[in-house]
């Protein structure tokens, strides 16, 4: 073992930053999205196919508790992941901090509204009531 006069601390504390959290979120959500998004896509678009999808089919599927949870997860993760992606892309090209703030807020509202619409629909569907 060689002698050293190490000045460096073993560990440092770095204050959290939103972009950092977002970056980490993009990566971990990605892992979840592989089963969620791919399975959904393969099932609906490839295996079942749009020609077999009907209102009844949709209602039936959305009413199933297992699918309900699955779809909620998909909605939550995929759309949040995607919208943060869009935010990042805008961040690259919009330099005026005020404009970027405004755009971010619009994106946030857009995200909330769409997610709410999707969530309300998903949660409320109940074949017995139809």
């Amino acid at each position: 073992m060689s002698a050293t006069t190490t000045s460096q601390p073993e560990r440092v504390r770095v204050r959290k930053n939103f972009d950092q959290v977002a970056w980490t979120w993009m990566r971990y959500s990605a892992v979840l999205l592989i089963p969620l998004a791919w399975f959904h896509l393969v099932l609906q678009d490839v295996v079942v196919g749009v020609h077999k999808i009907t209102t009844d089919y949709a209602i039936e599927r959305m009413a199933n508790m297992g699918w309900k949870i699955y779809d909620i997860l998909l909605l939550g993760f995929a759309f949040a992941h995607g919208m943060n992606g869009v935010r990042q892309v805008f961040r690259d090209y919009i330099h005026n901090p005020k404009t970027f703030r405004a755009v971010s807020i619009l994106l946030l509202i857009f995200w909330a509204v769409i997610t709410a619409v999707g969530a309300v629909a998903l949660l409320s569907i109940n074949p017995a009531a139809q």
Binding site: S2, S7, Q8, P9, R11, R13, V14, N17, Y93
Partner: protein, 236 residues
């Protein structure tokens, strides 16, 4: 061999818009592109403006875009380009001042912003000798000490083209050089700076930087290590 050399020209005092000049010349396949530009100055048009000094890839003056990619003109030989048309243009993402000369101001500003110097206010060893550092500790940051600040990396980065406030790969490389130096005490500060929105998170691993680096620095690795250090707080 005969080649066609197309050179980007822009004279701010005369031209409203840049144009290309074309020179047909007989060259040796072992000539450097910098040699060709010197031939242009000697035999065709002495007004061509570019920066160069060492002519062997160590001073970082002559980074430019050659056939669409960033190189040091003195480090790429005609035969490496495998083409008999060679197009030479200034770096992207920095303002062109004249011909192949761009404004390096923003690049050096970004470099300065990451505290690129050793910070250690601890007392020196009592015997007045060197601070000890093991070969392994030294090796930890060897790769990033090689940077010659040529800007080939930063100006090939799509995130930098999009926003020149992004500190860019060169600045991160130089921060890395100190963050992982066992003699330094300010890693936390640098990580904090790079953890801002113009810091490492702008890197989308597009990898142009590493492809362009004339010193073969593993830039994307260095950036990834900095990201990791920010996330984990560990400096190993």
């Amino acid at each position: 061999m005969e080649i066609k050399l197309r050179v980007f020209r822009f004279n701010p005092e005369k031209d409203a818009k840049p144009h290309f000049d074309t020179f047909i010349m007989d060259v040796d396949p072992n000539d450097r592109v910098l040699d060709l530009l010197e031939y242009v100055k000697a035999d065709f048009d002495s007004t061509l403006a570019l920066r160069r000094s060492c002519a062997h890839g160590v001073c970082g003056s002559d980074a430019m875009r050659i056939n669409g990619r960033n190189y040091l003109a003195c480090k790429v030989l005609v035969k490496n380009l495998k083409s008999d048309t060679i197009t030479v243009e200034p770096l992207l993402g920095l303002r062109v001042i004249k011909d192949l000369i761009v404004d390096m101001g923003p690049f050096f500003e970004n470099f300065r912003s990451v505290l690129p110097y050793l910070i250690n206010d601890d007392p020196l060893p009592a015997d007045g000798r060197e601070r000890l550092q093991s070969p392994e500790q030294r090796e930890r940051f060897e790769d990033t000490t090689k940077c010659i600040l040529c800007a080939a990396c930063t100006t090939s980065c799509p995130s930098f083209w999009a926003d020149e406030r992004y500190v860019g790969p060169a600045a991160i490389v130089n921060a890395h050089r100190f963050i992982f130096d066992s003699r330094d005490t300010a890693a936390a500060k640098r990580l904090e700076i790079l953890n801002q929105q113009i810091g490492v998170w702008r890197c989308r691993t597009a990898f142009n930087c590493t492809e362009a680096c004339p010193r073969d620095i593993h830039i994307t690795t260095a950036i990834a290590e900095v990201k990791k250090a920010i996330n984990t707080g560990k400096l190993d």
